[in-house]
């Protein structure tokens, strides 16, 4: 069973729809007993950093998720804001992030030519391998990005893939059981479904 974290933020139904399409058992929840049983966890996120952290704390999920992820090594996939919340902090807000991965979220520059936010279909310009999480994914796969802030990691080895918007930035991160994607696989047609399926089926 895949659990989608319900913390009052995010296009949660999109994930339910996607996994239902894949015939994979999925549940939207914020209950401890559900998350503790989950084979995989997805942390969605459509919102701002401070509000995201505020909501996680409101539901007492920050400590629970940290324990499940860092101690019990439950595989977790952070999507968009969900990915950024896993970092130390963000330029978007004042709060501290979950701190599972050293790094911060930085703003794309305010540049007339670049015109933030990064909004649209883009591909992976550089990626390490097309095994396990990226099985069957190539440079011809496009994903939908929608963000004004990007992930800046302290440790390069955790950068699993990069995409280009003004500069190359980290579009997929991985640290053992912790995965993060900046784009929206739940809304990236077939390419996204392939990735969501890989996350569920891969050996971790």
């Amino acid at each position: 069973m895949i659990c989608i974290v319900d913390y009052g933020l995010g296009n949660t139904n999109s994930f339910l729809n996607a996994y239902n399409k894949l015939n994979i058992n999925v549940k939207l929840t914020n209950k401890k007993r559900d998350l503790e049983q989950a084979k995989r966890i997805i942390l969605p996120g459509v919102g701002s950093f401070d509000f995201g952290m505020f909501q996680l704390k409101q539901y007492d999920l920050d400590e629970l998720l940290t324990d499940l992820v860092l101690n019990k090594k439950v595989p977790i996939l952070g999507v968009c804001l969900g990915m950024q919340l896993m970092l130390s902090n963000s330029e978007e807000g004042q709060s501290r992030g979950l701190g599972w991965i050293k790094g911060e979220s930085k703003s794309f520059p305010f540049d007339k030519n670049l015109c933030r936010p990064h909004m649209g279909w883009n591909n992976l310009s550089i990626f390490k391998s097309n095994k396990s999480f990226l099985k069957n994914i190539t440079k011809d796969d496009y994903f939908y990005f929608l963000h004004s802030y990007y992930v800046n990691l302290t440790n390069e080895p955790y950068v699993e893939a990069q995409s280009f918007f003004g500069n190359n930035f980290c579009s997929i991160l991985r640290k053992e059981n912790i995965f993060g994607v900046q784009f929206h696989p739940e809304k990236s047609h077939n390419s996204g479904l392939v990735l969501l399926k890989n996350f569920y089926e891969m050996n971790i």
């Binding site: 701002s48 804001l81 007339k112 933030r116 883009n122």
Partner: protein
């Protein structure tokens, strides 16, 4: 590389899809759920759904219907129509939409716009500006083209551009006429745009969609072009495929 966006727009009225001309004479097109399903199968970049009666009638779509609409889209979807509280915005996002579109309310209530951005992030907040040309001057109209906004349109555009993640420029004069986009308006906006711009109103052919390559950070949105076929305007949803996009140099992927 990021690809330019081509976006079908569906106008909602009483849970039906309609097409207008100059924001008038709505013509019934079909069931929205079905239309989104069809566009989804055509792998559209994203979709915009606007309830054109919501603000005027002070109504808001019910949760279940919202979820049903969103569930058909395996691509990003934007919903607008009568969003005048944070609660409504939240319902839209959790139903499965990635962006909320606001028009009437955002243009007159900047603190509300700022609050939406604070909670949902600029990337999810789209401001829609409906414009009419009169005596050589563009004016903003709210409430589905019924109420003239006295404030200077460029001043309002500059203000909302500081907060919203995307601005939709909708030409009431060109709406449903299928006589091309207002390119003068497109140039006027381009010079002062701070965000991606989505241009809507008048697209008549794939050729017109070239605004996405001719203008910096422009997305081409259209309603009539993607729902009508032929001179008699038969209802038949369509969308350029990859080959057509390549042929017309309109951003293939």
């Amino acid at each position: 590389m990021i690809q330019p966006r081509i976006i079908p727009v569906l106008l909602l009225k009483n849970k039906g899809t309609y097409k207008t001309v100059n924001f008038k004479s709505p013509r019934y097109l079909g069931d929205p759920i079905n239309m989104i399903k069809i566009f989804n199968e055509k792998l559209v970049d994203e979709i915009i759904i606007l309830d054109i009666d919501a603000t005027v009638n002070n109504t808001f779509i019910d949760d279940n219907y919202l979820k049903n609409l969103a569930s058909q889209a395996q691509m990003p979807a934007c919903y607008g129509g009568g969003i005048n509280t944070l609660e409504k915005a939240k319902k839209v996002i959790s139903a499965g939409f990635e962006k909320i579109a606001i028009s009437s309310r955002a243009l007159v209530d900047l603190p509300f716009l700022k609050e939406l951005v604070r909670q949902f992030g600029a990337q999810s907040v789209v401001v829609v500006i409906d414009l009419k040309l009169s005596k050589g001057k563009y004016s903003i109209y709210t409430h589905n083209g019924k109420v003239l906004m006295k404030k200077d349109f460029l001043e309002v555009f500059d203000e909302v551009s500081k907060y919203a993640g995307e601005v939709v420029i909708n030409s009431i004069d060109n709406d449903g006429k299928m006589a091309g986009y207002d390119l003068f308006l497109a140039s006027l906006i381009e010079s002062r745009a701070l965000t991606p711009i989505t241009f809507l109103g008048g697209a008549s052919s794939l050729q017109d969609l070239k605004i996405i390559t001719d203008f910096n950070n422009y997305a081409a949105a259209a309603s009539s072009l993607f729902v009508f076929q032929g001179n008699l305007k038969a209802i038949l949803p369509s969308y350029p495929n990859l080959k057509q996009r390549a042929d017309f140099f309109i951003g293939d992927r």
